[in-house]
Symmetry: C2
Subunit: 387 residues, 2 copies
């Protein structure tokens, strides 16, 4: 295709050209001194984004692999686990624990809402026997575009000994997540979201309390074995052959991040979210979730009455080279999702809102061309102090 | 470094420039029509190398992940497994099965020798209750540079119902392995060996008999779940987010392979092995293994009396930019290994033999400069019909 593509998914995100180029570097020996240096450099950079002094490990896998690592390293068959789900990825985390034989107490919140920390507190208070070994929770639920208040969930834990395990695959580095300050024990993320590199890496941070649990956990593990991983890290290596291109890319992306404070990184993403939400509302569509719980990575938009979502997605893709995500599972026909994390900037969103306007108009939805774009522009102009 | 590096490991191998460049392609939607086409194209190409009509799946993981997938998809806790080990990777395969609770009957052959098919036949004949559910075997044992006769192992199975699971991580595509004709049930390989692309992909081929075993196997699995993988493949997707750069690279490498018959690919690798072995012998060093069982990917060389292996490897690396592999585990101080698969050609080997000569001479080993190179050249000249 000669046309330029607007890849506005909630991850994988577009990759900056300077990062893309690093993927093509010749290979090095992954058991040699150059790799040791590379591994130490990127691990330090990733810890900064995690806001942690805990151990952080890199696996050659997708983010789901990191979730599996969280389960198999710190839990044993029959362990009671409190799984908090607000969507497809919360369900996935709970399912992995179920498959591995944990006794999963799954609390489902309506899709489009966030975890209620009061309910978590009530659950843990009721657990007089302190049987819960872990609380599984999603930071940023990509299927609905909702961010959970992880700090409040952690506070709700109080002095209960359950480990907090956070699926932060799509949220870490995009929205604030203070691994150490909030006492998060196991935090998982992946390459293709905030780090805006191609998929192929997952990351797992492990607190000292989690290491204590590791010592007695009996679920079987080899590929995901963090004890083995730790031994190899000590000599500057990884247990299994690492995905070198993505690690080179990670180094480059961390250089980009190093020039900014974390607050600046988060503010930039919140800004992109605000532009998107304003544009969507401006063109007359409804947002799935209210502002207070709205994700900075992805905005879920309700499909208007009379519009066929498949037709809309196809038109955007084939006629405008705009790639958005449909809904998942129970929201499949009800929403579509605009991703706005990674290598995305304000004008990309104007372009996409413009394409949405034209496509919806053609499909018969009453749109005044330019109204959504105007609303989005106003957010930019206000930010620039010009409105 | 400005110097050119000779990366002569038994994998990861150097990557051809035209393949390296494909890694830098912008991302595409991994749930869209373009990815479906890509996945179908590379899967067909990989099946050709596998010599199979069986299902073949691609995971974002190292080769070890593929081994774990073989164990967890087709076995249940307590299943009796016959594990044949001739080195570190045979040990690893057996260990994964042990960790997952299989009753592993491990048969160890001396490092530097191959599996004795007669012993396998005896084991299976003695198994009157037909309790073995699987035979785990390594195709090409990278730690020693030995290739097993997988056809003979398969023949030794006779009508015993055990599945044959082959760790062909470093051998598939380098030396003949007829998945279908030899009745191999689960065959695992990875990206960074014969396919000469960067690490980050593993492949698993599954026979109809293996699918039957899958239906009743009870080991826990989510990331590696081939049942789920099959459902996603049916709609042109993968269960988890795929490692897109490596899949693009795979497409390019398969184009290179498409211009050659499999016999031509195998003959090329055998030729590189022959040049290497002649060069090593020519300069006065001993080979670990005899020609009949010598791997076409890696040649293990005995460290001569009085030479410190670490010093030798360091000198080669720092003074000549030649990166070879040391020995592993029980052979750590006794051998070093020259990798000669992937993007390696005859003259690279001459260069490396030349560097070896100079380094050994400097370290006090009696070398006549040029003698090893001459022996290697003679193999090339004979092949060209000039000697």
């Amino acid at each position: 295709m000669y046309e330029k593509e607007y890849l506005m998914l909630p991850g994988p995100t577009p990759v900056p050209p300077r990062v893309l180029r690093t993927l093509s570097q010749p290979l090095i020996n992954h058991r040699g001194p150059q790799f040791k240096e590379l591994l130490e450099e990127v691990t330090a950079g990733v810890k900064r984004i995690y806001q942690t002094k805990n151990d952080v490990f890199i696996f050659p896998s997708s983010g789901t692999g990191g979730l599996e690592a969280a389960v198999v390293n710190f839990l044993s068959p029959g362990d009671k686990v409190l799984a908090l789900s607000i969507g497809a990825f919360g369900d996935r985390f709970a399912k992995i624990a179920q498959i591995y034989g944990c006794a999963v107490d799954k609390v489902e919140f309506a899709w489009g809402t966030a975890v209620d920390p009061a309910l978590v507190a009530a659950k843990l208070t009721a657990d007089q026997g302190r049987e819960y070994k872990a609380i599984l929770v999603t930071h940023n639920e990509t299927s609905t575009g909702v961010v959970n208040d992880i700090q409040a969930v952690s506070a709700a834990r109080g002095d209960h000994p359950a480990l907090i395990m956070v699926d932060a695959v799509s949220g870490l580095g995009v929205m604030d997540l203070k691994t150490d300050a909030w006492g998060l024990d196991v935090v998982v993320t992946a390459a293709q979201k905030a780090f805006m590199i191609p998929p192929g890496l997952s990351f797992v941070a492990v607190s000292p309390r989690a290491w204590e649990a590791f010592a007695t956990a009996t679920l079987p593990k080899f590929y995901w074995d963090l004890g083995q991983a730790k031994e190899y890290y000590a000599i500057g290596q990884t247990l299994v052959t690492p995905a070198l291109p993505q690690i080179n890319a990670l180094r480059e992306t961390l250089k980009i991040f190093a020039a900014k404070s974390l607050d600046q990184l988060f503010a930039r993403q919140a800004y992109l979210r605000d532009i998107t939400r304003a544009g969507v509302k401006g063109l007359g569509l409804k947002l799935l979730v209210p502002e207070e719980i709205a994700s900075a990575t992805v905005t879920a938009v309700c499909v208007p009455e009379g519009i066929n979502i498949k037709q809309l997605m196809q038109k955007l893709r084939e006629e405008y080279n705009v790639v958005l995500a449909g809904g998942q599972q129970k929201l499949a026909a009800k929403i579509f999702r605009i991703g706005h994390l990674g290598y995305i900037q304000h004008l990309d969103i104007l372009a996409v809102i413009g394409a949405l306007e034209m496509s919806l108009k053609e499909l018969g939805f009453p749109v005044v061309l330019g109204q959504g774009v105007k609303a989005a522009q106003e957010v930019i102009m206000v930010r620039k102090g010009l409105l």
